[in-house]
C-alpha cells in the first residue's frame, strides 16, 4: 500500500503533541523514523541480556568518560527520534535533562537485534549514517556476530565489517577499549 499512496509524515513536535494529548499512550513502545511512527518489537530475554552486558562492560571500562544511555531517545533530526538500545554519549552537566542527545553528542550507537536484524540494517543503518553517527554497531543475535558500520555519509555507511564470537571490538572513539564479541552475545 505505501508505494501507491504518499504517507503523511510527522515531525518530532507533532509526535510529542500526539503523546501529550493521549493519542499515543504512555505504555506504547514507539520510535519516529523519517516521519513514520513505528512500533518497537517486544524485547526478548536474549536481547535484554545483551544490553545488560554492554551496559556493564562500558560502565566498568569507561566510567565517567561517557554517559551510557539505555533505550532512550536520540533526536537525529526534526523527523527522526529513535530509541537505540545502547548509546554512549558525551557527558553533560544536566545529563540531558534539557534536551535529548543529538548526533553531535553520540560517541557510539549500538542496536541489538533478535527479530529485527533486517530493519536495523536496512532502515536504521542508513538513517544513522545520514545523521552523521560516526560508528554504529549492530549486534546480530541470530547470526552470532556484531556488524560495525563506519564512514557515515548521506547515502549510508561507507564501511561495514562483521565480527564473530572469537573477535575483539575496538570503538573508534575509545581506541584503548576492547570488547569481546563472545562476552556480549548471549
Amino acid at each position: 500500500m505505501p508505494a501507491l499512496a504518499t504517507t503523511r509524515r510527522f515531525t518530532v513536535d507533532e509526535y510529542y503533541r500526539m503523546a501529550e494529548v493521549g493519542i499515543l499512550e504512555p505504555g506504547e513502545r514507539l520510535e519516529l523514523i523519517e516521519g513514520e511512527i513505528v512500533r518497537m518489537a517486544a524485547i526478548g530475554s536474549k536481547h535484554a541480556a545483551c544490553v545488560n552486558r554492554l551496559n556493564r562492560h562500558f560502565a566498568r571500562a569507561l566510567g565517567s568518560r561517557v554517559l551510557i544511555v539505555i533505550q532512550n531517545p536520540v533526536r537525529l533530526s526534526d523527523r527522526s527520534e529513535p530509541e537505540p538500545d545502547v548509546t554512549l554519549v558525551r557527558p553533560r552537566p544536566d545529563d540531558y535533562s534539557g534536551s535529548h542527545p543529538g548526533p553531535e553528542d553520540v560517541l557510539l550507537l549500538i542496536e541489538v537485534a533478535e527479530a529485527t536484524v533486517d530493519f536495523d540494517r536496512d532502515v536504521k543503518a542508513p538513517l544513522y549514517a545520514s545523521a552523521g553517527i560516526a560508528e554504529y554497531w549492530l549486534v546480530d543475535i541470530p547470526a552470532e556476530r556484531v556488524q560495525i558500520f563506519t564512514e557515515p555519509g548521506e547515502a549510508g555507511y561507507g564501511g561495514s565489517r562483521a565480527h564473530g564470537r572469537d573477535e575483539m571490538l575496538r570503538p573508534a572513539a575509545f581506541p584503548d577499549l576492547e570488547v569481546s564479541v563472545d562476552a556480549i552475545l548471549p
Partner: protein
C-alpha cells in the same frame, strides 16, 4: 519501510483527534486508509470537471430518499476515512451533521482518477467491497473509461464492467437514470 506490521496505525478517532489538536492542519488534504494517514493528490482540472459533470445528473434523479455528497468524508469502519469524489447516501434527518456517513449509508461511490488509478483500483476497491458498498464506479481518465464494480463479497467486487464512450450505465441505486459514458468523461 520493510515491514508494514511495524508501523503504528491509527483509528478514525485518533485521526479526528489529531485534527482537533492541530497535529493535522486545517487545510491539509489527507485521508485515513487502513490506519495510515496519506496525503491526497491535488485535484487536476480534468478530474474536477468530471465530478462537476456527474453532479447535475445525479441530483436531478435522486428524489427524496437519497442525497449526493461531493468530496466529503465517508467513514469505513474504524481504520479508514476517505474523501470520496461523489457519494450517493441515504437521506438522514440531520444530514450527517452528527457524524459522517458509514458504509451502510452509502449507495454508490464514484472516484475520478487521473494520477491515482492504481491506488483507486488496487487499494480503494477492496476497501469499498469490504465495507459492502453496493456499487463503486471508477472513472479512469487516462484510459478514458468507466469501471463499474458491483456485488461486494468477501472484500472484493464480484462483478466488474469496463465501459467506454458510446456505452450507457444505470446506477444500481437509481435504476431509472441512464447515464451515457461520454456525458461524464470530461
Amino acid at each position: 519501510m520493510p515491514s508494514a506490521l511495524t508501523t503504528r496505525r491509527f483509528t478514525v478517532d485518533e485521526y479526528h483527534r489529531m485534527a482537533e489538536v492541530g497535529v493535522l492542519a486545517p487545510g491539509e488534504r489527507v485521508e485515513l486508509i487502513d490506519g495510515k494517514i496519506v496525503t491526497v493528490a491535488a485535484i487536476g482540472s480534468r478530474h474536477a470537471a468530471c465530478v462537476d459533470l456527474f453532479t447535475p445528473l445525479l441530483v436531478e434523479d435522486v428524489g427524496r430518499e437519497v442525497r449526493v455528497r461531493i468530496r466529503n468524508p465517508v467513514r469505513l469502519g474504524d481504520s479508514s476515512e476517505l474523501e470520496l469524489d461523489v457519494a450517493l447516501v441515504r437521506l438522514r434527518p440531520d444530514h450527517y451533521a452528527e457524524g459522517h456517513p458509514r458504509p451502510s449509508d452509502v449507495l454508490l461511490v464514484i472516484e475520478v482518477a487521473d494520477t491515482t488509478v492504481d491506488l483507486d483500483r488496487d487499494v480503494k476497491a477492496p476497501l469499498y467491497a469490504a465495507a459492502s458498498i453496493p456499487e463503486y464506479c471508477l472513472v479512469d481518465l487516462p484510459s478514458d473509461a468507466l469501471k463499474v464494480h458491483r456485488d461486494p463479497t468477501a472484500g472484493a467486487y464480484g462483478h466488474i464492467r469496463q465501459l467506454r464512450r458510446g456505452d450507457h450505465v444505470r446506477p444500481w441505486a437509481l435504476p431509472e437514470l441512464e447515464v451515457a459514458v461520454s456525458e461524464v468523461l470530461a
